[in-house]
Amino acid sequence: MLLPTFEFHEPLSIKDALKLKKSLGEDAKLLAGGTDLLVHLKKKLITTNNLISLSGIKALSLITKEKNAVIIGSCTTMTQLSSTPIIQKNFPALKAGCDNLGTHLIRNRATIGGNACNASPAGDTLPALLIYDALALLETSDKKREIPMADFFTGPGKSCIQPDEILTGFRLPIPGKNSGAHYIQLGKRKSSEINLVNVAAFLKYDPDTKKIIDARIALGSVAATPIRSPKAESTLMGQTPEEACFFAAGEMARREDCHPIDDFRGSARYRQAMVGVLTKRTLTRAYELARSACI
């Protein structure tokens, strides 16, 4: 299998990239790490005459701190995210997602923007983006908008990005004190997996009442897109964080919040069962982290 031929463009600024995108029209594809795009081109799942590489745009691979948030450039790689202290400290569930994606070689190239735009229901960083209430930062040559990740995905492989838009990055509010988050994925082998189920959870509790005051759960590989698990989340609110309520939340997520399908990687039945187990486990661990953070 050979890559088809195409024109290769390498703009050095977001402005130039947007200009190119506008002038070349819908046919032009944005190339970040290429770990999805080049595979799709080779397999002839998509065709294009023009590739616009984003690698030359330095601004897109920066991780910067604002007052209460961190901005992650869309072209930061998994390796970069995983080794950046502000990410390690504030977003452990995202780091876990990055560490689980593919292999060393893939992680050196794969970007978080590419992972989001590829919009696989199984994408490894996507549940974390959902539970951290990330905003996607989108830009065209004449306007910018910010979209909550919960509204970003519109179907398998589909997102709300418009043809003339570029995803420049994500804004992730820094979680406050007394909170913790965790991510677990399950596959057939221990590395280089396409997830059967992946779950992230975020918990915040009131240190005085010892009750849960914020809970966010995101489920991957069990619906057309990565999804939040609203019914399970609501069972947790106001509860004392302990095994029984994590188990109950898992049961709720399993029964009410997921809609898996059968494919050659695994059955819907198994995926559904695992939503319960992984939800319980991520919550348990998220709470442990929340507690240990305040000691």
């Binding site: 299998m1 050979l2 292999t103 399950l186 057939k188 082998r189 221990k190 590395s191 280089s192 997996e193 396409i194 059967l196 050659f264 990687r265 695994g266 059955s267 198994y270 069962a273 695992m274 187990v277 992984l278």
Partner: protein, 786 residues
């Protein structure tokens, strides 16, 4: 015990510098001036009649040099076993699987060749297809081959002793079934080849193959050429595991394209084509009944098996026999019956893969051993030792264990894994299990009927006296055979490994049946040793004459001549040598006469010193039909202990430790032996845990890449403790026998027994995906609750 100077060490592999620096040349690294690129047109349909093939547009595309179909390739049938030739290079009247070859194109670039492929118009009449054994054997099922009614490719019925009578005397009878999944070899180097005719009509095919010899014969036969006009060479090869152990249609198409275009032609499989071509381990469905007395004495095995064969025979006839014959040991069993069949269907053909035919039968049987042990309350190791054959014993189907360190292997893993302390004392969710296995050390007979030597070797001492050149047609495919043979040559000649150079993998160098059935160390190794002894004797004969010393008093060790008793005055020889090297500053001044001086003197007296060696097995047992499959000059054997952790909530199994003891007779190179043991374990774990080629309902492989076909990653690989047992095989060079395949035998059942130990659940289908294990645990819980 002999003290060795070269073998029995951890010498560095002779190919390490090339491979570590990336200088090693594999087939795809090679280019010839004016070379064309060839590609194959393969069927998109699992079963269809070919109504017409129109190549006119493709032929006329600028840059295209040749388009061939069966019209150019001809009608000659080939395959693996001559009695079972059922393939032609290109489909003639119909295609039988998605990937069946129809045509090939050679063009000045790969791009153009691929473009041309899309211009070939084939008209098909689609035929109903069958993809499973069940569907293929139904009444009225579509038939793949005219002369194989019922899609039955092969069937075997054997009985040794009287199974029915023996079962009547048993106190315990266990019957169970097991099924694995079709495997892919998942070697790193995809098949590739480069064919070229010279101006005198000699065809040279460079190919990524395990068996230059068989490829040479098949190419000659299919192209209608003299064998002497076909030369097959293999450069470095990135493994084969059995899949590259026969000529493939791409090699044949490549040669035909080279003939048609009079240009060098290069072809490669993509990874997708590797999956399409397949030829790896079959899917087996076994039912075994084992009977024993209440003291644990094994009485009888009744074995039935069905192989899901795919569209052609390939190795299948040998596979179906191996499946039965290799249950004959390692335990004393007087009564054994086997009913095996292999069924055609519209999937790619399966073939041979590491542990040919025997892996899943072993996996099921070794679980039954554990079931029996549990029922009578005996330790599984004790039960096995109780029934173990002894050195020199012959199985009921005539396999002779001329050396047999099986009980030593069990003892080694018992101690190595701390079995006695762990067994029975593990918390729920953790388990320990063990199993044994054995395998041939070379097939007793070539694939075609012949009295041919299985290996010939030539060793020439360079005329300057310094170096031994070893020429063998054997196949180094990554396993380390070149190093092993260089070490054997050095040991036998009595010189350092550094002074041996070796060239291999070229049919011009002699006959060697190649790298399959774990044969080379024993068979080629024999021929190497003989050739080295022959060359050495010639040198010593000259010395004996010149120094007036009896031949028996002379030897060569570490590069020096050793004299038993007094050292005679050899100064005249040294002077003669030094005179030839006037002005050289490194002339010999050692107390001992050097090999270099001696072999130079021998050359001066006799001309080039050439030693030759050859090997073929002695007369092996078995007069019954099929006896030729399974008989071998020797058998390697092994025992393994697996320790696992099972996540009872998700079904995920983690393999924590493997302790592996293997009797390889004598380790020529210890590190290489351990490498084979670890490699076997990793392949066994892959098959046990996640590997499975998955098809859709159109006969297409869904997971045709290494992202979705899940071999073991370094993270899945447990710590493997390897223990080498040496039983000194009388039929092997320096006592050596196999390690390449036997070491995979116990891996799967050891894991299954450990999972049972952890969960209380026996799982009778592979792979042990989290899903399969999870539902097995759920079903078991539901059953227990009732």
């Amino acid at each position: 015990m002999n003290k060795f100077d070269v073998i029995s060490t951890r010498a560095h592999r002779i190919d390490t510098p090339d491979k570590a620096t990336g200088q090693a040349m594999f087939t795809d690294d090679l280019c010839r001036p004016g070379q064309l690129y060839g590609v194959l047109l393969q069927s998109p349909h699992p079963h269809a009649r070919i109504l017409s093939i129109d190549t006119s547009k493709a032929v006329n595309l600028p840059g295209v040099k040749s388009v061939i179909t069966h019209e150019q390739a001809g009608y000659i049938k080939y395959g693996v076993s001559p009695a079972r030739y059922d393939e032609t290079v290109f489909a003639i009247d119909k295609v039988r699987y998605v990937g069946d070859e129809i045509a090939a194109v050679a063009a000045v670039s790969l791009d153009i060749a691929l473009k041309a492929l899309s211009l070939i118009k084939v008209k098909y009449e689609l035929l109903p297809a069958v993809f499973t054994v069940e569907d293929a054997t139904k009444k009225g099922a579509p038939q793949l081959h005219e002369n194989s009614p019922g899609n039955l490719c092969a069937e075997v019925h054997q009985e040794f002793g009287d199974v029915a009578a023996a079962l009547k005397t048993c106190d315990i009878i266990k019957t169970s079934t097991m099924k694995n999944k079709r495997q892919d070899g998942a070697f790193i180097e995809m098949q590739g080849c480069l064919a070229e005719f010279d101006n005198r009509g000699l065809l040279t095919l460079v190919s990524s193959t395990q068996v230059p010899h068989y490829v040479q014969r098949t190419v000659a036969m299919v192209l209608g050429m003299d064998v002497g006009k076909v030369r097959v060479k293999k450069p470095y090869v990135g493994a084969g595991f059995g899949i590259k152990a026969a000529a493939c249609p791409m090699e044949l198409a490549c040669c035909i394209l080279a003939r048609e275009t009079k240009k060098p032609v290069k072809m490669n499989f993509t990874r997708e084509q590797v999956f399409m071509y397949s030829r790896a381990r079959h899917q087996f469905t076994h039912t075994i009944t084992t009977g024993a007395k209440k003291d644990g004495t094994l009485m009888a095995i009744k074995h039935e098996c069905c192989l899901d064969g795919g569209a052609y025979t390939s190795f299948g006839i040998a596979t179906v026999y191996y499946t039965g014959s290799l249950l004959g040991g390692p335990y004393k069993i007087a009564n054994m019956s086997y009913d095996g069949k292999r069924v055609y269907n519209n999937k790619p053909a399966c073939g041979a893969q590491r542990g040919h035919g025997a892996v899943i039968a072993r996996a099921l049987f070794e679980q039954q051993m554990d079931m029996i042990a549990e029922e009578i309350g005996m330790d599984p190791m004790e039960l096995r030792i109780k029934n173990m054959m002894d050195t020199g014993d012959t199985t009921c189907n005539d396999l002779n264990m001329s050396s047999f360190g099986m009980s030593e292997c069990i003892e080694a893993v018992r101690i190595g894994s701390n079995w006695d302390k762990k067994k029975g004392n593990m918390p729920r969710g953790k388990g320990i299990g063990m199993a044994c296995g054995f395998f041939v050390s070379g097939a007793g007979y070539p694939i075609y009927r012949s009295d041919t030597y299985h290996g010939t070797v030539i060793i020439k001492l360079t005329e300057d006296g310094g170096t031994a050149l070893v020429y063998t047609a054997s196949a180094e495919i990554g396993q380390g055979s070149d190093t092993a043979f260089a070490m054997i040559a050095a040991e036998a000649l009595g010189i350092p490994l550094d002074n041996v150079r070796l060239a291999s993998g070229d049919t011009d160098m002699g006959v060697d049946l190649g790298a399959y059935s774990s044969r080379q160390t024993l068979m080629t190794g024999h021929a190497v040793k003989q050739a080295a002894d022959h060359a050495k004797t010639q040198v010593l004969e000259v010395l004996a004459e010149q120094l007036l010393v009896p031949l028996e008093k002379l030897d060569i060790k570490k590069g020096f001549i050793e004299f038993a008793g007094d050292t005679p005055d050899f100064s005249a020889l040294r002077t003669r040598y030094i005179k030839e090297h006037r002005g050289w500053i490194d002339n010999p001044d050692s107390k001992k006469l050097t090999f270099k001086e001696a072999s130079r003197i021998a050359f001066l007296e006799k001309g080039s010193i050439v030693g030759t060696g050859k090997y073929k097995p002695h007369n092996l047992g078995g007069k019954f039909k099929g006896a030729a499959v399974g008989t071998s000059p020797a058998y390697g054997c092994s025992a393994q202990v697996a320790e696992v952790t099972v996540d009872m909530e998700t079904g995920q199994v983690t393999i924590d430790n493997i302790t592996d003891a293997h009797d390889c007779g004598k380790a020529i190179n210890l590190t290489a032996v351990e490498g084979q043991m670890e490699g076997s374990v990793s392949m066994g774990i892959g098959e046990a845990m996640h590997e499975e080629v998955i098809f859709n309902d159109k006969g297409q492989v869904l997971n045709n890449d290494l992202a979705e076909y899940k071999i073991v990653t370094s993270v899945d690989m447990p710590r493997v403790k390897t223990i080498v047992v040496e039983s000194c095989e009388p039929n092997g060079p320096y006592g050596a026998k196999e390690v390449g395949e036997g070491a995979i035998m116990p891996t799967i059942p050891a894991i299954l027994n450990a999972v049972y130990n952890a969960t209380g659940v026996r799982i009778n289908e592979l792979p042990l995906t989290p899903e399969r294990v999870f539902f097995a645990i759920q079903d078991y819980k539901a059953k227990m609750a009732k």
